[in-house]
Every structure is written in structure tokens, then in C-alpha cells.
Amino acid sequence: MKKTFCLGGVHPNDNKISKNAAIEVFPPIETAYISMAQHLGAPAEPVVAVGDKVKVGTVIGKPTGFISGYVHSSVSGTVKAIEPRADIAGNLVMHVVIAVEGDEWCEEIDRSRDIVRECNLTSEEILSKIQNAGVVGLGGASFPTHVKLNPPKDKKAVALILNGTECEPFITSDDRIMRERPVEILIGAEIMMKVLNVDKAYVGIEENKPEAIASMSAAAKDFKGIEVVTLKKKYPQGGEKQLIDAVIGRQVPSGKLPIDVGAVVQNVATSLSIYEAVQKNKPVIDNSVTVSGHCMDVQHNYLVRVGTPVSKILEVAGGIPKDAAKIVSGGPMMGKAIANLDAATVKANGSILILSEEETVRKPESNCIRCGKCASACPMGLEPWLLNKLARVGGRYDDLEKERIFDCIECGCCLYTCPANIPLLDLIRINKAEVMKIIRGRAAKK
């Protein structure tokens, strides 16, 4: 029997309509807008000045804290401005604006596609290369990868798990890289195994990607200790805790980290970044982006330079279709609706979806019929109907904490499944933030 996680989950139509579109290199852009907040944690600090000449790979931002990261220029040209600009959600973030001139790369970057497998670096050298290349988790959370690969000394990793589930509907960028560049992804995994000092790695792939499973399994034959695990199709299998449960059958307890059960999870796209950073000296300056939607004539998977405006991507992909109602960065279950089409992509932008009104409209809310479908769908074993009820009363943060609102991973299964169309997650999200604030405040007092 195919493996999957134990609690909850939903089965939205996977809509992988762009799966047969090979990754195309996105045409050169005129201006790149590179955000200093490419990662979770403190934004980077710009280290270039207006008028500076930069090449592809030049460091333009340096980390400002432990959880922070380097940012590199994705184009060559002249720095035109360093200014706050609106990101896709409309929040102002410091950007370095570069007018593109030609395409000149830093000399140390190996631009060939020749595969380099041998790696004689020490763990420390590898980690510093990963850090200097600005590698972040490309699954969506963009957590700085070097921090995740360097667990506290008292905790020992047992297995590395590569996340190739791509459980969000529509997105196919990971599917494409697994089909097109399996060996490079596995070399990335081998490098991580060395850093973590583990001898076992798993690649979890959902059954709806048979080509990716075949190509990764074939490539894995040459790698010792790497096993491809076919998983049942169920959302949110790509959630870190769900994936660990599905692949090695261990459940990360509430408030703990994957490393507490001996697991380190990395996305397959991150693994590819690690390969490029360590073996090719290439910092994260581009990533694959799915541009998809039923209302589009042609589906695309692009290799896009970081800092390309969304409007530019949509223009090249064939323009915004007439019946487009919502444009989403990320998947339809957890992605963000784009409020500002002039915003530029960041490293972890895996997809741009165009949804029609019919696909995305929220139907009017009606009475809760206490069917319990939200509780059955919750992968964390929470009771969304109860959390929603407590949230509506207002101020009942103690009860919400007792009902473990902080365990919510905001996967959206409850809202997706609710037959009464109650906006369960909206209220849970707001109240979870409040409860987390209270918990942090209490911890700070101690």
C-alpha cells in the first residue's frame, strides 16, 4: 500500500495541466527589482550603491542576523535605485533596482550543464558555500537552508527527506525539475547527507507524478542510501510534519521541530540550489516558475531570474486572459493572492496561477451544520468548527490555546471542505497570531 500521513487531508482536483510544458528559459528582462527579503527572518542589508556596476552573481545584500541570508544580483548592469517597493502582497520592502546591460556572469560560476558529482569539501566548507550562495527553502517558507542543515549539537539527524510531493494543485515546477534534472537533485541530496552525517535519504513523490518517480528512481540507482518513496495523492502531504509522518512514520510533537524526531526535510528545488551552489558556485539567481490556469491558452514552466516583475511574466506567457479574476503566487490552497502585479518574483516563488471567477469565488456562508467534515479534514487533529466558534465570541484566547490553535499549519483543508462555506481559516489565522503573541509574551517574561 502506498504511504500517506495519518490524519485528515483533502483531495482537491490536482489540475496538473502544465506538467508537459518543459522548463523554458525566460527571455532577458530590462530591469530587475530584487527584494532584500528573499528569506524568512531579518531582511538583508544592501551592500551596493546607486551607480555601481554588478554582474550576475554579485552580492548585493548581506545578512543582518542569524536567520537571514545573502542576496545576489540576478542580472548584470547598473544599480539604478535602492528603494522600498511593494511586494506581491503590497507590503513595502527594500529593493535593489538594476537596469540590465548584457548578461555578464561572475567568473567563478560554472555555467555549463556538465554534471559534477565529486565533492571533497568538509561539512563546514559546504555549509559556508550554501550560506554564501543565499540558498533558502524553496518549498514556500524560504527558511535559510544553512540554518536548517546545522541542527543544534545535542540533536542528531537520522534521515534526510526530500520533498517532491508538490501536493498543491496546478504547480508543476518541482515535477519538471525532477524529470529534467534528477541527477543534480540527488547530488544535492548526497551533499546534504554528508553535512548532516546521515546515511539514509528519502525522496517523497506523490503518485500523480509517475514520470518524476520513474526518472528519480532511475537516477537513484547510482546513489547509496537514497530511496524514492511513492506517496498517495493527498493534500497537504508536502507539509513538513505530514511528509515526515508519511515517509518514516514519525510524528513531530506539538511545538517541536522535525529534528526532534531525527528528520530534516528539504524541497527538491532546494536540493538543486544546493547542488548549484556547492558544485557550480552558482548562487540562487533563478528558479523554476509554473505559470498556469484553465483560462490560459498555453501552460508554461519557466526558468525565471529572481526579481522579474509578475506583470512581465504574465505578458510573456500570453497576456492576462479576459476571464482572469484572481492571480495567485503559490498554489491555490496556500498561495497568496497577488495584490500588486508590478511586484517582482523572489527565490521561493514557485508558481503564478490565474484563476477564473468561477474557480475561485467564495460562495455565501450559511449555518454550520456540525457535520464535522472540518475536523475530519484537519491534518493536525484540531477542531476548526470549535476554533471558529470561540474566535467569533472574541477574546477567548485561553480556550483557543487549550484547543491548540497554535498547531494550525494554515493548510486550508477546513475551509476547502466546509459545505456551509464558513470562512474557518480566516478567523483561525487571525486568532492564531494573537495567541502566538500571548505565548511569546509569556515566554519573554519568564
Partner: protein, 333 residues
Amino acid sequence: MKKFIVSPAPHVHSDRTTRSLMGDVLIALAPSLLVSIYFFGFSAVKLVAIGVIACCLVEYLIQKYVMKVKPTIDDLSAAVTGCLLALNLPPNSPWWLVLVGSIFAIGVVKMSFGGLGQNIFNPAIAGRVFLLVSFPALMTDWTIPASWFDSVNASVDGVAAATPLAVAKEAIANGTPLSEVAAYSGLTWKQMFFFKVGGSAGEVSALALILGFLYLVIRRVIKPTIPVVIIATIAIMSGIFSAINPELYTGPLFNICTGGVLLGSIFMATDYVTSPMTTKGQIIFAFGIGVITVLIRYFGAYPEGVSFAILIMNCTVPLINKYCKPRRFGEVK
């Protein structure tokens, strides 16, 4: 410039709505309704039509003129209540009995608590029990109405006058051993399973009810937990009792196939609003219904106990929900 929607995730929604769930319940009731029409002809059609129209109308009027909200009868929940109530009445019931039951079920049991999702008791069952205690004679008059299929009725006339449960109960009260009661010992499993005339309009055929059950489970409207646990509890408990004294206590198959156990456990005990949310809670709830049903049948005043058992267990649902939490992810037992 064109404007786009900006709203929080998720951006897609399943097709399931309250209306589609209720619609599925109506579809699941169709086989029983057809069997009922086959045996009872026009009176079955009449009962169900009055029940559905009356329930929808009462809900509509209350929402529009009393609560002053947008009427929501298009969610089909009132239609389900009307249909269930009608199928829970004797087939020969007068038209006004259904009407009174509908007004009580929707007006008092459902709407006075705030409408769909707010009621404590299952409206159809509460409506039936209200009629049973208010009009006991009418509610136990199991005369078979004139039908288009008189030849069918004639052949099973022997068990038609009273329900087998009532006959068995009376016999026990009179001290007659069960083996001498033709309506009990003469009843073959085939009769019990495929059709038996004598009983409410909707419980003629166990097979039709089970078809409805399978449909609901396959369509994922309900989980099989509640009906299966109720039936298992009744089977085991009556199995033990009848093994001890088969002349005094009726047997498992008889208890399951008669007197609304299937209709009640499949369609009424599984009502979302009035049953617990978690599997653990549902098991406790269903076990309670099974035990109370058997106790009423063996030791109570009524021959039939499912309705009362469901109502009694309905009261415990808030408490069960409070203490039966789902298994949390990562919880160490």
C-alpha cells in the same frame, strides 16, 4: 485597469455544499420511498408530499416573518425532515397528522433553537415522538391503506394488523411463550429483510434502507460508524438476552429488522447536527442508542424504542463533544 480579487487562501473550494449533502440524503431515501409507494400506493405519496411541503412552508414562513432573515429552504434540510417524518408514520395516517408533526418538528424543534445547525434534537424524530405521545391511537394504527396492489397485501395480511414488535410485546405481557406467537416465530428472514408490512411507511424493506445506507457511505455523506455500532449493540445485547431465555426475549435479527432500527440508525441517528463530531464520540453515542433501544423494548412500556433512544442520546451530544476530542497530530498516548 482591470481589478483582481485579493483574498486569503485557500483560493479553491470543494463542490460539496449543505444543499448537495441534503440532496444526497433524499436520493438515499428514494428506494425506501419507492417500496413504500409499491405497498401503500397513494397514501405514501400523500404522506411524503404533505410532510415535505409543510416542513418547507413552516421554515419559510418563520424565517421570513418571525426571524426576518433570508429563507434557506433551498438547502433542502427542511425537505429531508419532512420526508423522514412522513416515512416514520403509520402508512394510514390522516393528512393532518403529518401537518401537525411537521409544524412541531420545524417550528418548535428546529426553528425555535435558531434553525439549521442549532437544534438539540433531530426534528423528524422529535416530531414523531410528539405525535406518538399526543395521538397514541392513531400512531399505532397499522391498518394497511387501500392500495393499487391489493393482491400483494392479501398475501401478507397476517402480519399486517399490528407490528411484529407490538404483537411480540403483547404476547410476553400475557405470558405467552414467543415460540407460539405466529407473527414472531412465523416471520422468515426473507420477509424481514425484503419486505414486511406492518410498521411505518418507510421501514417496509430492510434491503431498501440498506441500499440508501450504502449510497450515503459511498458518497461520503456519512461514515458507517453510527449505524454499524447501533446495530451491533442491539444484535449483541438481544443475542445475549434471547440466548438466556428465547421464550421471553426476542432475537437479534428480529430486533434489527423491525421497528425502525434501520431507518433510525441510518437516517436519524446520523443527523450531523444532533450527533457527535468525532469517531470516538459517535461510538459512545451509538452504543447508548443501542442499549436504550433494547432496554425499552424488553422492559419499557413501548414495543419500539429507537425514537426515544435517539432523543435521549441527542441530549448527551454537547457533553460528548466536549470530552471526546479528535486525536491530535503528534500526541503521545
